[in-house]
Point group: C3
Chain length 348, copies 3
């Protein structure tokens, strides 16, 4: 159950620079590649000739050439040519609206007539040199909503990530959840605490002392279909916390694009954009490595949680106040999914 009339992150540009990429998104097998002008194209990954995956083929002057018998496919899903054949009668295959923007390839999996690229999220850090970004991609065998729950309730950091970003104060500081239109915001502020190891490293990365008390914040923002951005950071205690001058803090945004592969698996695009010391590539690499380790801890937990839930579909879970972010996010998703589902007309 996922919205389809929406943009999902499909891949990163480097994944299609050398050759076509086959990836299943929302249950549909899609091939992504670059056309003649370098623009991205997305097609059903199924050659109309004999059903071979087009993603096994090659791109030749912007045409996708099937790797089995050489059928040449255009970016619109219409066959352009095939050795020794007249191709006019060949059935067109489905093409998907697809856009390259802000460092990602975005695909629209629903009704193409409704695709509106102005709805693609603006990601400031990709253009603005005051920011640096590093990230990665995990495949995880869980419902995409379990990952949303995970990211909207950061009390799990204390347990799942106890050696890096977890600390007891997260549990103790109450969080607050609000809904603003289609956005859900869960925030938590902690004052005068000891920074955990990951944040000590980030402080040093911004040339700040790491052995003094800090104020720490976490502001999780869900927007549909499955994006969670988390403003995170620490400032030297008493300097204004979240609002402190950049010289006294390490401020970042955790970036999460969660793309359903099937009902119980996801492509998880994770990363961190930071607004301090952006030119320090070694720092970018070291944050990326730390974050990769942290998210691999989530991976293990979520896959086993998913197995448990599949084994007991009849069991209902608790909805505590810490779960409000996930609960509200699911309500928005339920509304979107219902709006896409054709209603039966009432009996006369």
């Amino acid at each position: 159950m996922f919205p389809k009339n929406t943009w999902y992150v499909a891949c990163t540009p480097d994944e299609i620079d050398e050759k076509p990429l086959g990836r299943k998104i929302c249950g549909e097998s899609i091939v992504f590649y670059r056309g003649a002008q370098g623009q991205v194209a997305a097609l059903d990954d199924f050659c109309p000739h004999r059903g071979a995956p087009l993603s096994l083929g090659t791109v030749l002057e912007g045409k996708l050439v099937c790797g089995y018998h050489g059928l040449e496919m255009g970016c619109d899903g219409k066959t352009i040519a095939m050795p020794g054949q007249r191709v006019r009668g060949f059935p067109a295959i489905r093409s998907y609206p697809v856009v390259e923007r802000h460092g990602f390839i975005w695909v629209w999996t629903g009704d193409a007539a409704l695709a509106d690229d102005s709805k693609i999220k603006h990601l400031e850090w990709h253009e603005n040199p005051e920011w640096a970004y590093g990230g990665g991609l995990f495949h995880i065998a869980c419902d995409y909503r379990l990952m949303i729950d995970n990211l909207m309730d950061l009390t799990h950091e204390t347990y799942v990530h106890s050696t890096s970003i977890g600390q007891k104060e997260i549990d103790e500081a109450p969080c607050k959840t609000t809904v603003e239109g289609e956005q859900v915001i869960t925030s938590r502020f902690m004052e005068n605490i000891t920074p955990p190891p990951f944040w000590k490293m980030a402080l040093r990365g911004n040339n700040l002392a790491d052995d003094v008390p800090v104020d720490r914040w976490q502001i999780c923002r869900f927007t549909p279909p499955s994006n969670v951005m988390i403003e995170v950071g620490v400032a030297h205690a008493g300097k204004g916390g979240y609002d402190a001058d950049p010289a006294h803090k390490a401020y970042s945004v955790v970036v999460d694009f969660i793309t359903p592969e099937t009902e119980t698996s996801i492509h998880y695009f994770w990363g961190m954009a930071r607004k301090f010391n952006p030119k320090d590539k070694a720092l970018t690499a070291s944050i990326r490595e730390g974050q990769g380790k942290i998210f691999s801890e989530d991976l293990a937990m979520l896959e086993l949680q998913q197995r448990n839930l599949l084994a007991h579909p009849e069991r209902s879970l608790l909805m505590l106040n810490i779960d409000a972010g996930g609960v509200q996010s699911r309500k928005i998703l339920d509304r979107l999914i219902a709006a896409e589902t054709p209603r039966e007309s009432p009996a006369p």
Copy 2:
């Protein structure tokens, strides 16, 4: 199809000394751990909060702390605490009667009201210094009853274990099967034969000549739900065989606790208790190694037998006199399973 109102071996104590253990038994996912006084506890491996496996958590002062969001679970299945939450309304999860005794952790998978720990088998060798014990654990993809069949018909040793304990005389010596209440006994005695390699090693382990004829015995005892103990040994020929003075024989008991994981898989706890030279740890290790190799030969055979049977559920097997031990054991199991199954009331 297995009895549930009974004790099964769940694990060995060392498996829960460091951290919780998740194990599926009779189709139920259970977490085993040690409570505040070191006593063993067994609970449904499913956190009531969000369904995470509790076995991924940690034990803190005898409380099982969920590794996802820190819910603290008591040994009785009632939530004790959770950071920032009032837990009175949390639903209790199932706890299982569980006992640590004789070197094993035993779990009762059925109606807790019927659990009676006086029914746990007494294993003398665990307390008595005249005995030594070594063993191991295999996971095998077969119905638990195939392993019972295997252990109650030792003619297979001649073929499956031809290089260690097998010998033609096993086939040639008739066996005798009797039923005593809920116990099935199949016994075989061979006189004046050459000991096979494993028993030569055992004779040397008891400082006895290994190049002389021996009398050999095998007395298999099944007791429900799935325990097979096999008295095995050799004595120098003419010294009284099974009844020979300990100075002339090597006498052991093969210990088999077969715990169903699912209908077609088992946790197989195997071992050997011996009543000679008990302090010789090198001998214990070398017997354990030999036995592990032998049982891994069974593993391969049983898994492929199971696959064959699943492919042909309509085929019936032969019941020869060598199969009497397995046949009688299954009859007892069928009675126990039927007794647990609620009968439909007759039509009025």
Copy 3:
């Protein structure tokens, strides 16, 4: 959907020289071994005693001895003996007509009464010293008909095998398909072209210049149930092409026996028989290595094509003129399968 009243290649003789071989063919698990006179036998791979696979056993003086409890099975599927048992009442298991001929073991999977070994294909190169043969066996997860399609349309060489036997001229030369009784023939002739790497190697193997233009031919012959022989070769240009004197050409036959394992998997026996320089064993080895690499490229493509087709059973494929060989072959198969299927009698 495959014909069953027919001969399939089951294995090569060396596969049963040392011990029994268990192999699933047309959905049936069969054990192959050599009887007392060295003749091959084929039986249901299921011991009538306890269902163990007989292929785990050993052959003793031509009797197949079950590796679990020593039941001795005869080549006709009747139990000969079992330690300590009278075997007269044991049910016979199914035996399959099986023949060793021309370097292969052939099995008849249908009604044994219809088995006629005169219908086994004659393979001249196995007896005639003017020929040399080398080959191998792949397991591929695809419908056997996808492999027939593959071999009857060699335009795929240009794309799948672009570095070895592919070249653009294959696409450009029209092919011709004819049906002669139960044989389908698709042929293609190319004149005055540059030989691709594999054929340069073959020319050198016949002590011919590899840097001159050649004429090249491909004559694919399908015969049911699933054999494709392809006459392939190159001759120095202008020397008569296919009909050139052996001194001017490298002439071979690609040999393909495709044995269904299940509806979506095959045992693929591939090889090449050549009629030049037959005593050069290094050449045989080098052709075999090249061919193995080539067919492993097909393997990858066919398995992914199969997955795509299974995901979209509702989609119909195109039937172009290059597909005529596969289309005609499938028509013959459909007729054979229909002829084996009992027709329902008309309603009275």
